[in-house]
Symmetry: C2
Subunit: 401 residues, 2 copies
């Protein structure tokens, strides 16, 4: 035996993702991950709400599942029923809403319930890397549909479904982020939402609608969710409090028909989501949702303007982008042939981190000349300085691109 | 299309567990699940601690992972390093401790990292149903080793390993709950712990030590953990705050060598455990651990005595049991041939729920004449009354057993 003892690597399951490296901490110019802004965390409001909630229901912590059963805290589900109705046009009961530990757990539960190795799922061609990785870890084939400035090209979705049908393949779902899409920040107009639902019904393939950014529209129309148009259970809908409130609360939710919920809940093997944050968040949002979300939207609006101005100033015509009406991230296109992963190491040495586009693309090659920039965490000054660093390392590492 | 719309059942993955039924709420005589006692939830202490913690670090909630990185809240990991050293003899750094959403997530992560379909794992013959179900959902073969009043029979563990080796089978781990075993409530003496470690080293099969009840010894010796004896990384150790503090905080932890941790953390796809409860729990336990745990132990000690007296009174020689020195549950043996699942429906109608033993047994037939009774939640009066109801439905449904 080696002095180190047992070699676990010989015991590992096959096909694991590569092991993590050491935790790098937060870079000063942090352009990755959907972080929020520390100054907008309502610390005093949270203290007041968690105090109220613990005084009222703190003894419930003694019990697994407590009042809400496996679907989670009842007060938060009651808040969600009202919020979904008022803001997303969704009309459901508390029995059709499940609280999860962030929307990533929602994605896991849906995939655990629906996916077999070899299954096919459809997504936007550029999409959330977490959804992509989780479907792939389930050994599903992911088929990407191109987007334009109005989100997924639903005409191409339909031809993709027709092609797959001709090959005898029926996908398990159409995964879409219709509002403030990740990473393109586009919004699917209402006519495309209706059209997507029609296509879903025609092919008998449900829509998996991820609206984790849907609270963050700060300009123009606020489109209703696809789920709001659906009267025949063709849409599984998920959302999150990470972007509107705080990622650290780790709270998301699934809206699904009750029979699907009863099947999904048996995959939620964590014996419930913690009780403290749902109690706190329900109490806080019941009284403060509208006001708080306006503050968040205003801040993101200002930061978006600063980011766009800085990118224009530093990159000029070398960069192309869609100007988003909401959300907390942008997707920048560099000329064909540029590999945006090349400058990343140099950027990190300068204290800057960004997402090379390949990780957000079904076909990595098609994303390799893009970058994703998240602008929720950095201050306006950090955005300006960060873009300056970005331009410096791009010029330095890519030459005259 | 049916008026109900899409039929999701045709889309489900194969081999899913049966869908859940409606949530039944809490039965008045609740003898299932490791619930705690509502009157022992330190509501005022929690309010004080969460207030302190949010004032100090509330703005960290804006950021995924925050100070501790993917391994979780640093303050709680620092507390655990001290607690594990002082109470369990375990000498590790914060980099070898990961915070999870309850010890069930710890089990998931270890299984995700180690198990392939067709793998073999060894457990105690009677063991935690959650661990059993999770390994089986990963399509692992579970081999049970008999227990006596001193926990797992390590001589039989060794012969089991020898038999498997002769067949060319190398198990992935030996899962054991050495302290306040679930469901037998037995404790593995120190000499058996040493012997189990020797066997583990001889066969190159790691020990997966689950100490989720280890804070709850209220009588006699408090054996050190197996991990404390190990200098060659043969033990993966997990623990929980669910039993010592509150299940509703949903906090557990893994202690593992750093290379294994780096591999396990990539399976923790929830993007971190929520930040509020770890902050609160770290602040609370830093100042109150010893005092709080004494109160919990005293209560469990009293409830154990009430349960034993009631069972003796109502069942007399028809029931056999091990008298536990700690924990919050007991395992009662009825005569061979009794099927303890038979009276369950009648019991529920009388407001009583208990665990028929088959669900806690690797070979369900060997557990069918046992029941598990959890005594953390019911009051002393509810224990007495519940056992009266239990005797009534057993006599009624099983006749003269």
């Amino acid at each position: 035996m080696s002095p180190k003892g047992l070699d676990y690597s010989q015991l590992y399951a096959k096909d694991l993702p590569p092991a993590a490296g050491p935790w790098e901490g937060l870079y000063p110019y942090n352009f990755v991950t959907g972080h929020g802004s520390p100054e907008l965390i309502p610390v005093e409001g949270f203290i007041e709400s968690v105090t109220n909630a613990l005084k009222k229901n703190g003894r419930d912590l003694a019990v697994y599942y407590s009042d809400g059963g496996p679907l989670g805290n009842l007060a938060l589900r009651e808040f969600l029923v009202k919020k979904l109705k008022k803001h997303r046009g969704i009309d459901v009961t508390v029995d059709e809403v499940m609280i999860c530990s962030g929307s990533t757990q929602c994605i896991l539960l849906i995939n655990d319930t629906l996916l077999e190795p070899g299954d096919t799922v459809i997504t936007e061609q550029f999409t959330y890397s977490g959804a992509l990785n989780n479907a792939r870890r389930k050994k599903a084939n992911v088929v990407g549909v191109p987007l334009d400035d109005d989100g997924m090209r639903v005409d191409l979705l339909e031809s993709t479904l027709a092609d797959l049908k001709a090959k005898g393949v029926k996908p398990k779902y159409i995964y879409t982020i219709p509002t403030c899409q990740n990473p393109t920040a586009t919004n699917l107009p209402m006519d495309r939402r209706r059209e997507m639902l029609r296509v879903s019904m025609e092919y008998g393939v449900p829509i998996f609608e991820d609206e984790c950014y849907a609270d963050l529209i700060f300009e123009g129309e606020w489109e209703a969710s696809i789920r709001s148009l659906d009267t025949t259970n063709h849409v599984l809908h998920i959302g999150s409090f990470s972007k509107s409130l705080a990622p650290g609360v780790r709270l998301g939710y699934i809206v699904a028909p009750q029979d699907v919920m009863n099947q999904m809940v048996v995959s939620k093997v964590d014996v419930g989501t913690n009780m403290v944050t749902p109690m706190m968040v329900a109490d806080f949002l019941e009284n403060n949702y509208e006001e708080h979300i306006e503050t968040v939207r205003d801040m993101l609006h200002r930061k978006r303007d600063v980011l766009i101005a800085a990118m224009k100033e530093r990159f000029g015509p070398k960069v192309d982008f869609y100007e988003p009406r909401g959300g907390m991230l942008m997707w920048f296109k560099f000329p064909e042939g540029v590999d945006t992963s090349v400058p990343l190491d140099a950027a990190k040495k300068e204290g800057l981190i960004y997402n090379p586009g390949a990780d957000w693309a079904v076909d990595p090659a098609k994303g390799s000349n893009y970058i994703r920039i998240c602008y929720g965490l950095p201050t306006e000054d950090q955005i300006r300085e960060g873009v300056e660093v970005l331009a410096k390392v791009f010029n330095q590492e890519l030459g005259d691109f």
